[in-house]
Symmetry: C2
Subunit: 122 residues, 2 copies
DNA sequence: CAGCATCCCCTCAGATACTG
DNA sequence: CAGTATCTGAGGGGATGCTG
């Protein structure tokens, strides 16, 4: 009743300037080291990457594996539970694409059609 | 910046402390006046309600109908296009519910690992 | 390599007051 | 009734430096 809806719960997980980029990478690559993630997400700082990963970890979305060695090696991967976000992200991605087209067709007619992309969500 | 996925496009529409509450109400009621929305969403201020509605309107999600009369009367409703958000919100809501349960079961029983594959989320 | 610690800025959103 | 107009504080996020 007062649950209104749990959309905000999902939003809390996804909101954050970089969180869905991280999820995108981890869903694409299975396992990634910290530096790999940083390289794969242009513009992100260590601080942001760390904090966002910590939040995702605290929510059970990603797993963190630390190897006791020097130099340090830390691997990140989606948890099985985290994978359950896939349909949600897919729905958002799909709608987002439609919305981009919608805005283009609405705002102006001289706008060129969007070129094909290769790195979409599954 | 990120051309690899359109999740952020959907996020831009949904993010905002009150936006999904407004969408929830408008999807439930078809047509609502400004004051009805304000009453239906406890805690929201006029400023927030106005600004969020303006953004939704600018994105073609909601429609604003002004009656030229005194006192003023303004009605808000989902656009046909805005209705296309419904499956996205439904997916997020569904996942949010599962996540709440997941957090509860994880917090109340920290020793036992939850079997990830035998589940019905999604 | 993978971080933590600081400092700082800027936006979001709350409170309050005013208006056609 | 349905809005504007201001002021303000909190915190999300950036830049930089240090460390095991």
């Amino acid at each position: 009743m007062s649950h209104d809806c749990r959309v905000d719960t999902a939003l809390e997980i996804l909101v954050g300037k970089w969180k869905h980029h991280i999820l995108f990478q981890l869903m694409k690559h299975d396992v990634m080291r910290f530096s790999e993630l940083k390289r794969a997400i242009p513009g992100i700082t260590q601080k942001m990457l760390t904090s966002q990963l910590r939040e995702l970890e605290a929510n059970g979305i990603v797993d963190r594996k630390v190897y006791a060695q020097v130099p340090p090696k830390v691997e990140y991967m989606m948890t099985a539970y985290g994978e359950s976000l896939q349909p949600v992200l897919a729905a958002m991605h799909e709608w987002g694409e439609k919305h981009v087209q919608y805005l283009q067709s609405r705002d102006t007619n001289k706008q060129v059609q969007r070129p094909p992309e290769s790195n979409d969500w599954i």
